[in-house]
């Protein structure tokens, strides 16, 4: 496909269009892509960025993912939060202004199980308009229980869509089941989840192939589960304790990450594009001006990180450690408004 057509023709997504936008040749046109992406984002989303914060409830995990600080072989101290402790974390976030939160956990099924999550959610739903989860895959029935309790969003990354690479990085444990993980977003959608967060861990496999697989996955979900909103995240390999960088051969440059994000915005004008605190503040600020619609701020990726002084084990090193107020102020100086609360459970009680 001709690159001008790929950038400017509002034809939606096709694999052909995406490949053209991701190609090395397209990098000459990055500024044009950015201008168009910004125009589309402003039209669809206005001058707003939605802010959210994660609460890590447990860093125990039975899986052995070599890229994650929580992997079960890691000897560093583990923490899990009681419901009361998790609520205390949530209180701090609420006082900072957050109304959208993401509950995150390692695969710690014995403790962070459905009754725990349901009970925690019921306590939190008074204070927060939207609660999402980023945990291990569940069955449709389990998602239905959580949905009834008040969870309406899910984020789960396939890590890599390449089956061979997936097997390489997930040799044992429940996470070794590729298909169970792949199908989980469909199950959540069937259970009624309104927000479906996709992504792959950038660095595990070739990024262009993975982006194409990601968009095919997204396209299927959008067609089939048309009442849910798809969002894209970009977890990029970052330094962390116990993570072996020799193993990960497909790291990408900032330019390539920008190209990926712009391509997704052009092909999916209505999907959310999410930027977490894995990325540096400068990078986040610049992308906020172009096509990002949702950001975390002031994140702590260790359980108890908001309340406790002494840091427990973090999942990854947060690269942007500004406070939520600082992030909000940065957005304002760029003509953007931070939106803390976008949806209210009260509408559907």
């Amino acid at each position: 496909m001709n690159i001008q057509k790929a950038i400017y023709n509002d034809s939606g997504y096709s694999p052909e269009r995406l490949e053209t936008l991701l190609a090395a040749d397209a990098q000459k046109h990055l500024e044009q892509m950015a201008q168009k992406a910004r125009q589309i984002t402003r039209q669809r989303f206005g001058n707003t960025i939605q802010l959210y914060a994660p609460i890590y409830v447990s860093n125990f995990c039975v899986n052995h993912c070599p890229y994650c600080a929580f992997n079960c072989k890691s000897k560093l101290p583990r923490t899990r939060l009681t419901i009361e402790q998790a609520c205390k974390e949530a209180d701090i976030l609420a006082s900072e202004g957050f109304r959208h939160i993401l509950l995150v956990s390692g695969e710690d099924k014995k403790f962070i199980n459905i009754p725990y999550l349901a009970e925690l959610t019921q306590k939190l739903r008074e204070k927060f308009s939207s609660i999402s989860i980023e945990i291990y895959p569940l069955s449709k029935e389990e998602y239905e229980i959580l949905f009834a309790a008040g969870i309406d969003g899910i984020a789960i990354y396939q890590e890599t869509y390449d089956r061979t690479d997936y097997a390489k990085f997930h040799k044992t444990g429940p996470k070794s089941d590729y298909d169970w993980r792949l199908d989980t977003l469909s199950r959540a959608a069937q259970a009624g989840f309104r927000s479906l967060g996709l992504g792959f861990l950038i660095g595990l496999s070739d990024w262009r192939t993975q982006t194409l697989a990601l968009t095919e996955h997204a396209n299927m979900l959008m067609k089939k589960y048309w009442q849910a909103k798809v969002s894209f995240s970009f977890p990029r390999m970052r330094p962390a304790e116990n993570v072996d960088k020799e193993l990960f051969k497909h790291m990408i440059s900032d330019t390539e990450l920008v190209q990926m994000m712009l391509s997704l915005r052009l092909c999916f004008p209505d999907s959310e594009i999410v930027m977490s605190t894995r990325e540096l503040s400068g990078f986040r600020d610049n992308m906020a001006k172009i096509c990002v619609t949702r950001m975390s701020a002031g994140s702590k990726t260790n359980p108890g990180g908001y309340t406790v002084e002494e840091a427990s084990l973090e999942q990854f090193e947060v690269a942007d450690d500004r406070t939520p107020a600082q992030v909000s102020s940065m957005l304002k100086s760029n003509g953007l408004e931070a939106v803390w609360k976008d949806w209210d459970k009260a509408f559907i009680k």
Binding site: K5, L30, A34, Q35, R38, D254
Partner: protein
Amino acid sequence: MKDKLIIAGKEFSSRLFIGTGKYSSNKIMAQSIEASGTEMVTVALRRVDIQNPQDNMLAAIDRQKYLLLPNTSGARNADEAVRLARLARAATEINWLKLEVTPDPYYLLPDPIETLKAAEILVKEGFVVLPYINADPVLAKKLQDIGTATVMPLASPIGSNQGLKTKSAIEIIISQATVPVVVDAGIGMPSHAAEAMEMGADAVLVNTAIATANDPIKMAQAFKKAVQAGKEAFEAGSAGIKNQADASSPLTGFLRD
């Protein structure tokens, strides 16, 4: 490689469907159908005129060449539509059906609620349902969810010949569709049909524009060409329109630092 139109597992080479109403004679109707190159024609069900029982339009349609698609025109609610559907199936043993529920006799606009109700019943009874609807993207998705074989959004009211008044909504329907989209009703000129195909519609259904033309046979030929042209244009892909870029400072300058 041109892709074929497939509806409920059946392949069609022609993306033009023809309605059989409003012709001045059965003979002209038959000739127009032939000229259009169509492979499927719609028919309606009405009471036999006891005073004039010989009139049999169906005899003029070669059922070896053309598939019959009975419609439920005249139905004002789901119950009536379902009854007509069952009658049609009893008559022909075909289970294909154009579902049409139009309580409003002025504009003949389709009732979304009754259409959805009827579609649900008929899909369960094994009908291949092609529902005629207003260009409502959410309704279109709901019908696809329950298993209709296509969706058929109107371009403008039946017989109005106004063309694609519902263009933006049809664009959304096409972008979200998991079944073929047939633009049906209000197509007044071959250019409207071409426009629909250029947008990505899978087929069009035309009746009034051909039947009431001065020369229906010639008009049928024109429509045939227009549908082909529109489809080919869609496949060829246009060059794209460049928007004005914002004349502000470069957004990607930060990458060069």
